[in-house]
């Protein structure tokens, strides 16, 4: 049996309001994500059935979505879900070595969970952080620019229950970088950015031609206030 908490029902309504009233199906993915967070990292079948009722679709529609996308876990995962990017840009920067390090340190193979339920290791496809390779995603957080030593330090910190805090920009490059500027530092943007209106085209070029409020009428838009 599954139901959203009262607090989460508020979020459910927010989500449903984003999409047109006759296309509730669009909310399936965000609702599955919400259910996954509520259940601690995985989506039980009961949650899928509940979501099917909320969006007024047959349960198969939700099952299809849940099995298609890789981020939905249909079995329990450990407290720290390690997703290691293994695609070629990270691979040539040493992600296989990182995988071996994790496997040896935690004594599990890729795809398995540690016996104490703390870590699950999975190799996933490109995580979109290629200039900071190699990297892993731990639950929601990106730990980038890993080396063998920093990976082991990270795992040890997690075992103690205190994974390192994210950096200023929502990810943590483990080699001291701030974000995407590279280990040797940035090579551009040393000057102050131009302020508002600098380099703006001349005023003669910007004489208003139309009233945008009329465009809606011209287009014959039946705009639904809902």
């Amino acid at each position: 049996y599954f139901d959203f908490t009262i607090e989460n029902y508020e979020r459910v309504n927010n989500i449903l309001n984003r999409y047109p009233g006759n296309y509730k199906q669009a909310a399936i993915i965000p609702l599955l994500d919400l259910a996954q967070r509520q259940c601690g990292g995985w989506v039980p079948l009961a949650a899928m059935d509940k979501i099917a009722k909320i969006v007024e679709q047959p349960p198969m529609a939700v099952y299809e979505v849940c099995t298609f996308y890789t981020m939905f876990n249909r079995t329990k995962v450990g407290k720290y879900f390690i997703q290691l990017c293994g695609t070629t840009p990270c691979m040539i920067c040493g992600s296989e070595e990182i995988k071996q390090t994790i496997e040896e340190h935690l004594q599990i193979k890729e795809g398995e969970t540690t016996p104490d339920g703390l870590f699950t290791l999975r190799e996933v496809e490109c995580l979109g952080s290629c200039a900071n390779a190699p990297m892993i995603q731990l639950n929601d957080d990106y730990y980038e620019c890993l080396s063998k030593e920093s990976t082991i330090a990270l795992l040890e910190a997690c075992k103690k229950g205190t994974p390192p805090e994210m950096g200023k920009w929502g990810s943590l490059p483990m080699n001291g970088q701030v974000s995407c500027e590279g280990p040797l530092g940035k090579t551009s943007l040393f000057e102050e950015p131009p302020g508002p209106g600098k380099f703006m085209r001349s005023d003669e070029e910007l004489v208003a031609k139309i009233n945008p409020a009329d465009v809606k009428v011209q287009m014959g838009y039946q705009y639904d206030e809902g």
């Binding site: 994500d33 920067c93 952080s129 209106g197 703006m200 208003a208 009233n211």
Partner: protein
């Protein structure tokens, strides 16, 4: 015959490589008053001359060639790329976003579309379709259905990490772009589809959207312009195929992200069956700056047909993996040496570069010496600019293993709808896995190429082509290495059997 063909193709490529020559441009610090001064006057030039023939026509052509690169900071659009300022609305306004948006919108839809067309902006998401043209496909008069702008922030192409920088460091550029582009195409609502793994970036966007609503930049009478605009952020859940235009629309509608057949195109039947346009984050984010600074400013960068600036993500075996904004048509060597710290071990240690995200064929060092980074130049050498996510292999890299892993990526990400892709990517990967060991026959290389030609162009969406091209590039450029590996494996098998003392190798041959 294949090998003879390849030799001929290689010779033809060498002949058609662009010729570089010194040109000095008189520094023009003060340009005419009518056009805003382009700050990068007197651009840096390289000295290099390839002596091919002494005909008069060739020298005439050489004299007119200009070298691009060395973008000045004042010409950069993404001024908060390394996070020196605040990403939120106060920082954005200080950097010039949301400045006189009302006046830009007051110029009208046609003016905006003409400006974008004149600027030469081409889609930054990989396909390079002219953006102004794409926006002009949207119906001018509604037939009762609302129209939507859909922003593709599903950055899953291996090698690409530029959209996340825009979304976490400068989200207001994207939001203002949504308003301006949405108005140009008659849309009152924009959906930003961001990949599920980017949780922090999605939070940034949500916060920036909330700020924009609070300040009156979105919602009814957005930015005081008279146009209503709503922006919604939708998170995906981990599928590369949802970066494909119609796959994204299917995913936004709450279904598995399986691409649709085109026609009908999204401008006729798109999101929720309504006319919609899908554009990449970078394309939308540069639009307000183009409108503010002028189309002629933007088209002053890059060669004809490849105008503007681009965010390049350089990764792999280099000394300084970085995301940097540079001018289009910059020589690849210049880009890597100036911004990425050069190849590990020096330029001569370079083996190959994949210039545009994993879906384009690789380029060998001799091509990389002189090729320019833009759509047309890379297409001429049978590759492509794609998303401009370069990854660099030095001589220590195993190309076959790299391409094998890419084949696995495509197999994993195939949605499974159409047979050539579903079966083809699996088959490709299985053969590539054997090629990595060398456990194959030499004839199978030709069979592999034939297989890629059967997948390419016969699928519903471009993932089939994207899976086929890296393998074609590998066979075209690294065939000797593949054959060598096969021979080595055969030799090691024979030696092993001899050690075991059986005479089965006679049957093996």
């Amino acid at each position: 015959t294949n090998r003879r063909e390849n030799k001929m193709m290689r010779a033809l490529h060498r002949l058609s490589r662009p010729l570089l020559r010194t040109t000095t441009r008189a520094s023009s610090a003060a340009s005419s008053a009518a056009v805003p001064a382009a700050a990068s006057a007197g651009r840096l030039v390289l000295v290099s001359r390839k002596a091919m023939s002494s005909s008069a026509e060739v020298s005439e052509a050489q004299r007119n060639v200009v070298v691009h690169g060395g973008l000045k900071d004042a010409d950069r659009i993404f001024t908060n790329l390394y996070g020196d300022g605040s990403p939120w609305i106060d920082g954005a306004i200080k950097r010039g976003d949301w400045h006189r948006t009302k006046d830009l919108i007051g110029m009208g839809r046609d003016w905006i579309i003409e400006e974008i067309k004149a600027s030469g902006l081409r889609g930054r998401g990989g396909a390079g379709f002219p953006t102004g043209l794409k926006w002009s496909f949207m119906p001018k008069v509604s037939d009762g259905r609302p129209q939507y702008l859909v922003v593709n922030a599903d950055e899953s192409e291996p090698g690409t990490c530029k959209d996340r920088e825009i979304m976490r460091k400068d989200p207001h550029k994207l939001i203002e772009g949504c308003l301006v582009a949405g108005f140009a195409m008659g849309a009152h609502a924009a959906y930003i589809y961001i990949r599920g793994e980017f949780t922090y970036e999605a939070e940034c966007l949500e916060r920036a959207v909330a700020e924009a609503y609070k300040k009156g930049m979105l919602g009814k009478n957005a930015a005081g312009s008279g146009w209503d605009m709503d922006v919604y952020v939708h998170r995906g859940a981990g599928a590369y195929i949802c970066g494909e235009e119609t796959g994204l629309i299917e995913s936004l509608e709450g279904k598995p992200g399986k691409p649709r057949l085109k026609p009908p195109f999204p401008a006729n039947v798109g999101l929720y069956g309504c006319p919609s346009t899908v554009n990449n984050v970078e394309t939308i984010a540069v639009a307000p700056t183009i409108l503010r600074r002028g189309a002629s400013w933007f088209s002053s960068f890059g060669r004809k047909g490849n105008h503007g600036t681009k965010l390049f993500c350089i990764s792999g075996h280099i000394n300084n993996p970085i995301t940097v904004e540079e001018e289009m048509s910059i020589p690849m060597k210049d880009l890597i040496e100036r911004h990425a710290g050069g190849v590990r071990g020096g330029w001569d240690n370079l083996l190959a570069v994949i210039p545009g995200g994993s879906s384009v064929p690789n380029l060998t060092k001799e091509v990389c010496d002189t090729v320019l980074m833009d759509f047309d130049a890379l297409r001429e050498v049978t590759s492509g600019l794609g998303t401009a996510g370069l990854f660099v292999f030095d001589k220590s890299a195993d190309m076959i293993k790299g391409i094998q892993r890419l084949s696995y990526f495509y197999k994993h990400e195939s949605c499974g709808q159409c047979t050539p892709c579903r079966e083809g990517t699996t088959w490709l990967w299985k053969v590539m896995k054997r090629m990595e060991l060398g456990d194959a026959k030499v004839e199978e290389i030709d069979m592999l190429e034939e297989l890629t030609r059967q997948i390419e162009g016969h699928t519903i969406c471009a993932l089939g082509d994207a899976a086929a091209w890296p393998v074609q590039g590998l066979i075209r450029n690294f065939r000797p290495q593949m054959e060598e590996r096969i021979a080595q494996y055969k030799l090691s098998q024979q030696q092993q059997q001899q050690k075991q003392g059986t005479h089965a190798d006679q049957a093996y041959n």
